[in-house]
């Protein structure tokens, strides 16, 4: 199940709140059922989570409040100590790492963005962004140069000497993003980074986030309670409910084949055309016109549809190298879009 390029792997990860949680898990061979947990007077915040996050992908964990998603992301970085299971980061079991080793890993390989920004109020934007580098012991000149670069990257140049309270919410979160990227982390945790922002700003920040990702190609764990946001950003989504992952897959898989009625509730109002990609709807390439208009296999149907306005009956579908690998028929597209 573990793909070779998986950067972060969770194996049977549990978090139970209450006295004697670890011993209780061991007594039940690591797989207690819900009734046994309730009987022992424990609360199962995260239950039996298995997942792997691959190199360079955006892995979104989506769930409503109380579903355990924020706890899960803290288990992955060991901000919260799991009650049981394994968390492997680049093959190393974090739960067996010493405190000194954890500090080392967090200093150089992890970055995190917080829902309420978590900016230090007494530091300027520049010093906030440079803070993780300062903690590592980097010299003043070097860390400030690096921080300026990051501030430039998130589009806040000119605000270096402002204080957090002088910035808008969106700007504050840009600082948070710049700070988390300053150490060039190998894995980037974002805990509901845009939830505290106004809808318009949220949209803008999502676009900004996607722009950054095309430049940086980070391995990302992104937490959200907003299904639309998940669909928009994710390479893969895990949907959580009551501490468990109820379904994990690509946005298409989840929209097309929701595993439970709970998942179906979320997918009901999602416009299919915005989720389904050309590669899922394409037919074999025979008959495709190599000279005609083409569309990337990764593009979704809503992006491909306008190309039919020229009156062509089908589009060539290309892979990343530009090679034609299939064709997209107008009828199929129209049919899908009419379904909503």
């Amino acid at each position: 199940m573990t793909s070779p390029e998986a950067k972060l792997v969770c194996r049977n990860v549990w978090k139970l709140f209450g006295p004697g949680a670890a011993g209780f898990l061991a007594d039940h061979d690591g797989h207690p059922d819900a009734a046994a947990i309730a009987e022992a007077g424990l609360v199962g915040a995260v239950r039996e989570v298995d997942l792997d996050v691959n190199e360079g992908e955006i892995f979104v964990i989506m769930g409503l409040s109380g579903s355990g998603k924020s706890t899960l992301v803290r288990l992955m970085s060991r901000l919260i100590e799991p009650s049981g299971g394994d968390v492997l980061f680049k093959g190393e079991n974090l739960l067996k790492a010493s405190q000194a080793r954890m500090i080392e890993i967090r200093r150089h390989q992890m970055g995190m963005v917080f829902q309420h920004f978590a900016l230090l109020p007494h530091l300027t934007v520049l010093d906030n962004v440079a803070f993780p580098l300062d903690i590592q012991g980097m010299g003043r000149a070097a860390r400030q140069a690096r921080a300026r670069e990051m501030i430039e990257l998130v589009g806040l140049a000119g605000k270096e000497s402002a204080f957090p309270r002088q910035l808008s919410g969106g700007q504050q979160q840009r600082v948070g993003i710049a700070r988390s990227l300053a150490v060039e982390p190998e894995i980037w945790f974002l805990d509901e980074p845009f939830s505290a922002l106004d809808p318009l700003i949220r949209r803008e920040m999502q676009d900004e986030f996607m722009r950054l990702q095309t430049v940086l190609h980070k391995t990302i764990v992104f937490i959200t309670h907003d299904f639309d946001e998940a669909i928009r950003l994710a390479d893969r989504i895990a949907i959580m409910k009551d501490g468990e992952i109820v379904q994990a897959g690509t946005p298409e898989e989840i929209v097309l084949t929701p595993a439970t009625s709970y998942v179906a509730e979320f997918t009901r109002n999602v416009a299919r055309a915005k989720v389904i990609r050309a590669q899922s709807l394409m037919l074999p390439a025979n008959g495709a016109d190599p000279a005609g208009p083409t569309v990337s296999a990764r593009a979704n149907i809503a992006q491909a549809a306008p190309l039919f306005l020229d009156g062509v009956a089908h589009l060539g579908v290309t892979d990343d190298t530009g090679r034609i690998i299939g064709r997209l028929d107008r009828d199929a597209v129209v049919k899908l879009m009419l379904q909503g």
């Binding site: 970085s77 200093r107 530091l123 300027t124 993780p132 903690i135 000497s161």
Partner: protein, 674 residues
């Protein structure tokens, strides 16, 4: 007594009355049982009325002998306990010497009367200049002028020398109090067991009256300014610890997560993340420590702190109103200057500091350079022009005689009126209430407290309340405790009767409230000693005087909590009331006061706590309660007696505090606010 009639009818009526009063039947039954016990049980159960002497626990003796052992025999192997206390004194003596040399005595060679001054103390001009510079740096021109004006007042009215002695003690005690409090707070935040260890003493220290601290300190550290600094430290550190714990707790979880995520070590976590993130609240603690230190340094004049407090004390002893008032005003001036300066400092230092744009020593530290230049220049000039060094006596104004004349004039013209008021109060209210409380059986009171505790907070509270009452009775303090309860009770009721209407009136009028707020803020910054003088002036010594001083001191929280409670009521509810056609009176009584009830109860609680703490100090004007007991113990250096009386006061405070707090929680639940 009861009129003949059908008993069934009577109970029915009682039931209805109970319902109308919304008093649960249980309370009435308990009260009736208590009254019956009080009226009829005396011949049968003497011991329930006067605690039997044979069973008195000689706690005072035990404590005294324990202290004696501590001083004479206790040893840690390499060094004895006395060595330890001497060492602490010696260590604290160093900064105190420095501060007092700088401000009042100058640096001396040799000791006693043969000492030769090598370097004189800072000239008065320099001190005022430094204070103005500090004020200007912290809060601009206005603050500079205010602080300078307050200090100039000290010089002009001849209080300079005493004020500088007081200031020296504070300059040593306050920073140390902040540092110790912060360190304790951090330790408690980091290690749970330390928190568990220090919480009970912290709670107790908040309720033990200040005098009670002085007795053991006097015993262990002797008489003198260093002992006063130690007492001040002991007094001012717990609130800082408490504030530090709360401030660190209030740091958002995400900030802590951030600290871990960037890989902070424990030390980096504390000093780079937690303390800076909590610094706004910590600064509030700093202000409190400074004001508490001032209060304590004044009171610690009883164990040799000297300074302004000693002037007030001496004036009180020889009933020299003029001198006492002058010293009192000087304390007020000092208090206002220190309060405003430390508040401005809190604001300035908790605001983020911007990068210095300019470079160069002079440009970066203009205030520091100016201060140094001022100190050096005035000191040098002081050798040439003595008036710069010591405030010329010819320029001094003394209002002492003026005030003495005012008092004499008041006494000549209003003696009869004042006397009449005092006597009427004494005869009709104070003395009957005192008798009433004195007559109550201790056992019945303990039982009633236990019942109240049970109803309001459950069995634990019941055990606590009755246990503490038993402690008071068993250590032989019951009679004196009842006098304390009587004075405190009457004063608290009066303070509430004055404070509630003012609070209600001010709450809905923004302009009035802003003025009232300034007034009560100022009242609260004044050391409690200051309140004694005017009361003694008008009414001489006695219970009535004590009551006036206590009421003046305790009225501030009654006003504050009432007004805040009413102002906190959700404006949408007021709007809803108005939309339903409530009159202003109905809005006040049916909505505002109802919902502000828990807050008002807390205010009442604070009023009682303030009254108790002030009551102890009024021992100086001749009360006969537990406070007097502590005061006598202090003059006789009788640790056991002082501590037992102090603990009894703490017991009263704890009973009142826990019962009222439980009542407030009860009320909040009933009102659906929780």
């Amino acid at each position: 007594m009861a009129t003949p009639g059908s008993p069934a009818l009577e109970t029915n009526a009682a039931h209805d009355a109970a319902k109308a009063l919304r008093l649960p039947i249980a309370w009435l039954v308990a009260l009736a049982a208590f009254i019956a016990f009080w009226l009829y049980a005396e011949p049968v159960a003497r011991a329930a009325f006067d605690y039997p002497k044979a069973y008195t626990v000689p706690l005072a003796k035990w404590i005294s002998s324990a202290m004696k052992w501590l001083i004479d025999d206790a040893s840690f192997g390499l060094f004895s306990f006395t060595d330890l206390t001497r060492f602490v004194s010696a260590v604290l003596d160093v900064p105190y010497r420095l501060a007092s040399s700088l401000l009042s005595t100058g640096f001396l060679e040799g000791s006693g009367s043969s000492a030769i001054q090598i370097v004189p103390p800072l000239p008065w001009v320099a001190v005022i200049g430094l204070v103005m510079l500090l004020g200007h740096w912290l809060g601009g021109m206005r603050l500079g002028l205010l602080a300078g004006g307050c200090f100039l007042f000290l010089a002009v009215f001849g209080q300079w020398t005493s004020a500088m002695i007081t200031l020296a003690s504070i300059l040593v005690a306050a920073p140390l109090g902040v540092v110790f409090g912060l360190l304790f707070g951090i330790a408690a935040w980091r290690w749970r067991w330390i928190e568990r260890l220090i919480t009970p003493p912290l709670d107790l220290m908040q309720t033990i009256p200040v005098f009670a601290y002085l007795v053991p300190v006097l015993f262990l550290f002797g008489f003198g300014p260093t002992a006063a600094v130690i007492a001040t430290l002991i007094f001012a550190t717990p609130p800082m610890t408490r504030i530090a714990i709360l401030a660190l707790r209030a740091v958002p979880g995400e900030i802590i997560d951030l600290g871990h995520m960037v890989g902070c070590t424990d030390r980096q976590m504390t000093w780079r993340v937690m303390v800076p993130a909590a610094r706004e609240s910590l600064m509030v603690g700093m202000n409190q420590v400074i004001m508490l230190s001032l209060n304590m340094v004044i009171i610690a004049s009883m164990i040799g702190a000297g300074g302004l407090g000693f002037d007030v004390l001496a004036a009180l002893r020889r009933l020299d109103f003029g001198a006492g008032l002058e010293a009192g005003f000087a304390i007020v001036a000092l208090a206002i200057a220190m309060d405003r300066l430390s508040q401005a400092a809190a604001e300035k230092l908790s605001a983020p500091a911007s990068d210095p744009a300019t470079s160069g020593l002079f440009a970066r530290h203009p205030y520091l350079i100016a201060a140094l230049a001022l100190a050096i220049m005035t000191t040098l000039l002081g050798y040439v022009v003595p008036g710069i060094h010591t405030y010329p006596e010819a320029w001094q104004l003394s209002t002492g005689t003026f005030w003495s004349e005012v008092v004499a004039w008041i006494n000549i013209n209003f003696f009869d009126t004042l006397e009449a008021i005092k006597n009427a109060m004494l005869l009709n209210v104070l003395i009957p209430f005192k008798r009433f409380l004195g007559d109550l059986p201790w056992f019945g009171v303990a039982a009633l407290l236990s019942f109240a505790g049970c109803r309001l907070g459950g069995l634990r509270l019941a055990a606590l309340a009755s246990g503490l009452a038993l402690f008071i009775a068993a250590t032989g303090q019951w009679e004196k405790a009842m006098i304390t309860v009587y004075l405190c009770g009457i004063s608290a009721v009066l303070a509430a009767l004055i404070g509630l209407p003012i609070g209600i009136f001010a709450a809905t009028r923004d302009r009035v409230w802003s003025w009232v707020q300034v007034a009560i803020d100022t009242l609260q910054t004044l050391p409690s000693f200051v309140y004694l003088m005017p009361a003694v002036m008008l009414f001489r010594v006695g219970d009535f005087t004590a009551m006036i001083a206590v009421v003046a001191f305790a009225v501030a929280p009654a006003i504050r909590y009432t007004a805040l409670g009413i102002r906190k009521v959700d404006p949408r509810l007021i709007e809803a009331g108005r939309a339903m056609g409530c009159t202003e009176w109905q809005i006040l009584t049916r909505i505002r006061l109802k919902l502000a009830l828990p807050e008002i109860l807390l205010g009442l609680n604070q009023t009682i706590m303030f009254a108790l703490s002030m009551l102890v100090i009024t021992a100086l004007v001749g009360t006969r309660d537990l406070g007097q007991e502590v005061y006598i113990a202090l003059t006789k250096a009788d640790t056991g007696r002082g501590l037992v009386a102090g603990l009894s006061i703490a017991a009263i405070a704890i009973i009142a505090d826990r019962l009222i707090s439980a009542g407030a929680i009860h009320a909040r639940r009933r009102l659906g606010l929780e």
